[in-house]
C-alpha cells in the first residue's frame, strides 16, 4: 500500500467546522452569503442595464 507523502495528508471526511460569526458577511442588510451573491448578481444586471441605456441614449 502506498503511503501519502508527508505534506499530502488527506483531509478526513466529516462535518464542516461549526460556522462562527467570522464566516458570516457581517454587512448591513446582507446577513447571509447567499444575499451577498444575489447582491453581486443584481449589480451585474444593473451595470448591463446602465450600459444598454447609455449606448441607447447617445446612439
Amino acid at each position: 500500500m502506498k503511503h501519502p507523502p508527508p505534506h499530502d495528508k488527506p483531509a478526513t471526511r466529516g462535518p464542516d467546522p461549526t460556522p462562527v460569526a467570522d464566516d458570516l458577511p457581517g454587512l448591513p442588510w446582507l446577513h447571509r452569503w447567499r444575499a451577498v451573491y444575489l447582491f453581486v448578481l443584481g449589480c451585474f444586471a444593473l451595470w448591463v442595464a446602465l450600459l444598454v441605456v447609455f449606448g441607447w441614449l447617445f446612439a
Binding site: P4, P5, P6, H7, D8, K9, P10, A11, T12, R13, D16, P17, D22, D23, L24, P25, G26, L27, W33, V36, Y37, V40, L41, C43, F44, W47, V48, L51, V52, F54, G55, L57, F58, A59
Partner: protein, 571 residues
Amino acid sequence: MSPLDYLVLFGTLVGIAAYGIWRTRGAHSLSTYFKGDQTTRWMVIGISVMATQASAITFMSTPGQGYESGLGFVQNYFGMPLALIIVAAVFLPLYRRLDVYTAYEFLGRRFDAKTRLLGAALFLLMRGLAAGITIYAPAIVLSTVFGWRLDATIVLSGLLVIVYTVTGGSRAVTLTQKYQLALIFGGMVLAFIVLLARLPAGLTLTDAFTVAGGFRKLEAVNFSFDVHQRYTFWSGLLGGLFLSLSYFGTDQSQVQRYLHGASLRESRLGLMFNAVCKIPMQFFILLLGALVFVFYQFEQPPVFFNEVAWKAQADHAAGPRLRALAADFAAVHAEKQQLIHAWLDAQHAGNPPAAAQARAAAIAAQAHSEAIRTETRSVLHAADPRTSTNDSDYIFITFVIDHLPHGVIGLLVAVIFAAALSSKASELNALGATTTIDFYRHVVRRDAGDAHYVTASKWFTALWGLVAVAFALFAHLVENLIQAVNILGSVFYGVVLGLFLVAFFLGRVGGTAVFWAAVAGQILVFGLYFTLNIGYLWYNLIGCAACVLFSLFLQAFIGSRGAAAPVTALS
C-alpha cells in the same frame, strides 16, 4: 519628458518599493513569506486581486480599444462576477479549510502527488512565460516613444520588482499593490479630468458623448448570437466565465492574493469587491479611450500613432507615399471637423434633419480617414515587414505626451510601470511559492526547517525574476508575442480548470483517472490546435470538457481502485 516628469516617475515607483521593503523587513516564517500574516482586511485583498489582474497592458491597450472599437470590449468581463461567486462559494472555503500554500497542494491532497505536480508544472510553464511579457509589453512601447534603451528599461524595472518581491515576500507584494493601485486610479482620474478640460471651448460633456455615440463608440452591449462577432454579451458571459474561473480559481498568482485574508469572510468580501467593481472600472478606462477619440476629432491626430516607426520609414524610399497619405489624412480631418461642428450646431438649434445629414457626412469622412490609416499601415509593413501595423497601444501614450502638462506625464508613465510591477510581483511570488512548495519541498527536500524553505523560496523567486527578464530581453525574436502567450494560456488553462472541477465536484473520480484524463485532454487540445481553425478562446472550454469527460470515463473503466476522494466541495 522633463526633469519634473522623471522626478515624479522615479520618486513614486522607487518610493513605493522602498516603503514595501521597509515595512516588511525582518525575519519571515514560511507562512508569513507566502501568505503574509493573514491579518489582511477585505479591501486590501480586493485591491491586491485587482492590481494583480490589471497589468500595464490594461492601461495602455484598453484606452486604445475604446478609441478604435468603442466600449464593446467591456463585455469580455461579463462572466467574471459569476465566476468570482463560484470561487468564493466553492473554491475558497476548501483552500482555507485545508490551509494550503498553493492551489496545486489541494490537488495533491484530493488526488495524488503526480496530479499535483502536473497542475503545478502547467502553471509554471504558462505563468513563467507570461511574466516575461508583463515586463516586455510596456517596455517596448515606452522605450519606443521616449527613445530609451529597451534592454535598460527591461532590466531596471525587472530588478526593482525582483528586489522588493524577494525581500518582503507576499506581504510586501500586497502592501505595495495598495499604493500602486492608488497611484493608478489617481493617475487615470487625473487624465480623465485633464482630457475633459482640453476639449474645445463650448463643447459640453453631452456633446462629447453625442459625437462618440454618433461614431458608434458607446455601443457597449451586443446581444447578437453571431459567433463570428468578436465581442457579444453571450461570448463574454460564457467565455468570460470559463476564463475567469480558471484564472481566479486555479492560477496561483491570484489564489495567493486571497489566501492572505484574515478570515474566510475577508477573502470572500475581497473577491466580491472585484465582482462588483471590475465592470465599472473597465468601462471607465474604455470611456477614457472613447473620449480621446472625441478629443482627436478637434485636434489633428497623427496618421499612425507609432510615430517613431512612421518617421523611420519617412526618411527612406516609402517617404513620399507616407507624406502624401499624411497630407490626405490632414485634409480629410479638417473637412470632418467642420462637419462635426455643423452636426452639433444643428443639434443645438433643434434641427434634426440637418444634424442627421451632417452626422452622415462626418461618418463618411471618418471611414475615409480609416481607409487612409489602413493604407499607411500597408505601406509601412511593405517598407519593413518587422513594423507592427497595430498602433492602438500607442494611442493613449501619444495623447499623454502631446497634450498633458509636465508632471502629469511623469505620473501617467509611473501608472503604466506601477501596473506592470504590481502584476509582475504577484506572478514572481506565485512562481516562487509553487516551485518551493510543490516541487522543492515535496520532491527534493522534505524535512528541512522553515528558515531553509524561506531562503530557498527567495532564490527561486529571484531565479524566476531573472528568467522573466531574460525572456523579455529576447522577446522581440518571437513574432506576435502577446498573442502567442494568450494562445499558450488558452491551450493549457482549460485542462487545469478541468482538474480542479473534477476535484471539487466529482468525488468518485480518483487521481489516476484524472491524471491520465488531463494528459489525454491536453494531447487532444494540441491535436485540435494544429488541425482546426477556431478562435483560441474555445480551447479553454474544450480542454476543460475533455478533462472532465475523460476522467469520468476512465474512472468507470478503472473502478474504485483509483478513487480516494477525501475532500470535495460536496463532501
